[in-house]
């Protein structure tokens, strides 16, 4: 018996077709993985399913009954539950409060706390999802928060669970725990739609895989008949091989940090403690770690945007006394920021204006030390657009209209054209599709061959192991010693990311 049936859903946004005649079916006790690159239409489809958007065409049925379009309420009542990639929890409230939130009748004067607590406890026992009901959300780890999110939808009676990129913020161990929990739920008759672009997880958990590409369904395959290579090819539409690093002998230190300590936004407590690190010519050093362990602050220090109050910072053998973004750029720093939209580009400004934002005060790009030399800028911008294959209508297009991959190419072009001696690549491939990932990695490896020292901050261990030479793990503002990538393995780094620094030895 079909539990959930999505038939022939089409959704257009202007000239963009986000979903093109997509059909999907999930039965009781089945895990269907929805696989696709960013922008393939996974999230749009789930938003239609959940009533956030109204489809232009097509129906959704649960147990043979049609869902009214555009009603989130009806979707929840029919048994759908969604666990969002970004948690939707009130940080200052307890677990129980968060779970009850919105379920009590506004017309009742009586609170139902004790009944809710009993219901929560029985759910937690049934699915082995234990959390302290009275703990504040802000005291919980990321894995525990996700458990609260899952309990929240179960509490509302969900029988079909949708998980949107659930492992993006988890350590490898937490991921294993989550997958075990999901298997148990399925065994008890739940249905799961698992949205991801991580192939090994899809292989591990799903019964069936549906692949979306550019909004259209490109195929459906039983997981036992699939392997990673087949899925990758279906997802991207062609064979993609990520580039591998060639062996190079590293040169002298480009950048060296000794016992750097950095204060947090409260200006009192240290968020980075005794960071020591060196990056040499012709090498890529990776900083692995789960998000929120000090990566952002470390990146800000290296971008010249955050001061340090202890330790020495050396660049090319010279001591750098304080952070200064403009001075760092002049010294030969290159930077690929974590967030393309937030810090990487000025969306309202044109492509060429963004391409050369770091070169304004250099000849030949200015005249009389005040005026912008438009022709020099346009000539250089045209070269970069050609060289880095940035797809845009013209260089006069506002940067915000570029796709994620093209925006990242723009930033790469801006950074690499300065021939930097040191490059900080902070999550350079986050949210990019396979083709763009390969391009970014090729460019970084080419810069490494030319002699640059590169610091790669990444949460994706596949990325770390495919291009880095050495790796350190950051955890709670402290950094492990640097390990040779050939002398370590995924399990060891994964354990360190979870805080087990003893795994170093």
């Amino acid at each position: 018996m079909a539990n959930l049936r999505i038939s022939n859903v089409t959704k257009k946004f202007g000239s963009l077709t986000a979903n093109d005649n997509v059909s999907l079916q999930v039965s009781e006790g089945e895990v269907v993985a929805l696989l696709g690159e960013n922008g393939a239409g996974k999230t749009t489809l789930m938003n239609i399913l959940f009533g956030h958007y109204v489809a232009d065409e097509g129906d959704i049925e649960i147990d043979g009954i049609k869902l009214p379009p555009g009603s989130t309420d009806a979707a929840i009542r029919a048994g759908l539950g969604m666990v969002h990639q970004h948690f939707t929890l009130a940080e200052n409230m307890s677990v129980l409060d968060n779970i009850m939130l919105g379920t009590e009748s506004l017309w009742s004067l009586k609170s139902t706390v004790s009944r809710s607590r009993r219901k929560l406890e029985s759910l937690a026992d049934e699915y082995n999802l234990h959390v302290d009901a009275d703990a504040g959300i802000s005291d919980l780890s990321v894995g525990e928060r996700q458990r609260v999110e899952i309990l929240k939808v179960l509490y509302r009676g969900a029988r079909i669970l949708i998980l949107d990129e659930p492992t993006a913020v988890l350590t490898p161990a937490e991921t294993d725990q989550l997958l075990a929990n999901l298997k148990m739920m399925v065994a008890k008759g739940m249905s799961i739609i698992f949205i991801s672009h991580k192939l090994h997880e899809v292989m591990a958990i799903s019964d069936r895989v549906t692949v979306l590409r550019h909004g259209a369904m490109v195929g459906e395959i039983e997981t036992r008949n699939a392997d990673k290579a087949i899925l990758a090819e279906m997802m991207v539409g062609r064979k993609v091989t990520r580039p591998k690093a060639e062996v190079l002998e590293p040169g002298s230190d480009v950048l060296r940090l000794d016992n750097i300590c950095v204060r947090g936004n409260d200006k009192k407590t240290d968020v980075l403690r005794d960071i020591s690190l060196n990056i040499r010519e012709n090498e890529i050093v990776a900083i692995a770690g789960v998000a929120g362990n000090g990566q952002r602050e470390l990146a800000e220090v290296l971008n010249g945007l955050r001061p340090w109050h202890k330790g020495t910072f050396k660049f090319g053998g010279e001591v750098v006394s304080k952070g200064d973004a403009r001075a760092f750029l002049r010294m030969g720093f290159g930077r690929i920021p974590e967030d393309r939209h937030h810090t990487g580009t000025v969306g309202e400004m044109r492509v060429w204006e963004n391409l050369l934002s770091e070169k304004l005060r250099q000849s030949p790009f200015w005249k009389f030390r005040t005026l912008i030399d438009f022709s020099a800028h346009r000539k250089k911008a045209a070269e970069l657009i050609e060289q880095f294959d940035i797809r845009c209508n013209s260089m006069e297009t506002p940067a915000r209209l570029l796709s994620g991959g093209n925006m990242q190419k723009l930033i790469l072009a801006r950074t690499l054209t300065a021939d930097p001696k040191f490059i900080l690549a902070n999550q350079p491939v986050r949210g990019l599709d396979e083709g763009a990932i390969a391009f970014v990695h090729e460019q970084l490896l080419a810069a490494r061959t030319k002699g640059a020292g590169i610091l790669l901050i990444s949460e994706d261990l596949d990325e770390v192991f495919s291009i880095a030479d050495r790796v350190a793990v950051i955890y709670h503002g402290r950094i492990s010693q640097l390990l040779d990538i050939r002398k370590t393995n995924l399990q060891q780094i994964g354990a360190m990311m979870g805080g087990d620094m003893k795994a170093v030895a």
């Binding site: 946004f13 202007g14 000239s15 109204v54 971008n303 010249g304 945007l305 973004a325 403009r326 760092f328 750029l329 930077r335 920021p337 937030h342 810090t343 990487g344 580009t345 000025v346 969306g347 309202e348 400004m349 204006e353 934002s357 770091e358 304004l360 005060r361 200015w366 005040t370 005026l371 912008i372 209508n393 209209l401």
Partner: protein, 349 residues
């Protein structure tokens, strides 16, 4: 109903939208005129004639537009960098104070030097009036909307005190007004026997200069970048505080110059009713112009025309001059809405 962003914005839409919006404002206002029982077309006819219908009307409109161009530029420059200077009124009076202190006899130079000297002094004084708010914003992150707005009242009361005390003209027969600007400092007439003075030309020059600054210089680039995305600006090595300071000095300086055109041009001396809210109207001027410095000239003349025309309309038919404020307010609102239609499309289903 769904609202979707447009992918490419055609240039004619950018021009047509505000014009259509202003027509809408006039249509809406027609209901109010009909309510008073006066004929609509005829009333608007008086308004137009009063604003642009004769040599005198035109000179009055352009005279009224002069300070509005300056305060409009002050708002346009500041808002482009998302520095919300609501204090142009106070900065205008600071400029006027500078003209009074320096231009009523303390310093006398030949006119070719005296007039530029007064403009520079007024600009510096206007900038000075913004030093406090900009310093509080860059060091303590105090919201400039609050500080600049409240400073208007502080400055107005301070001017009031000066006019009742130290700066009071002994020859004024007890009126709270300052001494007249010396003859060398008075802005010459632009049209014979009218109040239109060369301040209007200075305002035109200022708008062209500001337009060129925003478009062709590195400063302009940095101001636009800081306004559009301060995080990205900071990341690419632009100092936010320095840019905000520069913007504040430009904005305050432009507003201060409006004080010069009024004391040294239109009136000849400082009084407490020097400005009927030019500082605040400047915000409307800038919004109507979509923050474009050249557009500021057109929208300032438009607003001045409505105010001047409404005066003469109220003399001819029985409609209060407050209709001008309603018309301006409706124009600003409908232009803002029309700008949404430029960027987004609405789809009905």
């Amino acid at each position: 109903m769904q609202i979707e962003p447009r992918e490419n914005i055609s240039p004619w839409r950018v021009i047509v939208a505000p014009v259509a919006a202003i027509i809408v404002a006039f249509v809406l206002c027609a209901f109010l005129i009909a309510w008073t029982g006066e004929p609509i077309i005829e009333s608007y006819g008086y308004l137009f004639k009063g604003a642009f219908g004769s040599r005198f009307a035109l000179s009055e409109t352009l005279n009224r537009a002069t300070p509005l161009i300056f305060t409009g530029l002050a708002a346009a420059v500041a808002f482009r960098a998302k520095f919300w200077n609501i204090g142009a009124e106070g900065q205008l009076y600071f400029g006027a104070l500078a003209a009074t202190i320096l231009g009523t006899g303390a310093i006398t130079l030949p006119p070719v030097l005296m007039i530029p000297f007064l403009f520079i002094a007024g600009a510096l004084a206007g900038g000075l009036a913004l030093l406090g708010p900009v310093f509080l914003k860059t060091t303590l992150k105090v919201d400039e909307v609050v500080t600049t707005l409240l400073l208007n009242f502080v400055i107005l009361l301070f001017v009031n005190y000066l006019l009742e005390g130290p700066l009071k003209d002994p020859m004024s027969l007890g009126w709270p007004q300052a001494a007249s600007i010396v003859d060398e400092g008075v802005l010459p007439e632009l049209m014979a026997r009218t109040r239109l003075h060369i301040g209007f030309l200075v305002a035109l020059a200022a708008s062209i200069l500001i337009w060129a600054l925003m478009r062709y210089t590195i400063w302009g680039y940095e101001i636009r970048a800081v306004g559009a995305n301060p995080n990205a600006a900071r990341f690419s090595g632009i100092s936010i505080n320095r840019t905000v300071f520069l913007v504040a000095m430009l904005s305050g300086g432009l507003a201060g110059m409006a004080g010069i055109t009024e004391t040294a041009g239109t009136k000849g001396y400082l009084t407490l009713d020097l400005s009927p809210g030019f500082g605040y109207s400047g915000i409307a001027v800038a919004m109507l112009a979509n923050l474009n410095p050249l557009g500021v000239v057109i929208s300032a003349i438009f607003l001045a025309g409505i105010y001047v025309g409404a005066d003469s309309m109220s003399r001819a038919v029985n409609i209060p001059t407050y209709i001008a404020d309603v018309l301006v307010a409706l124009s600003v609102l409908s232009v803002l809405v029309s700008l949404l239609f430029v960027q987004f499309r609405v789809r009905w289903r």
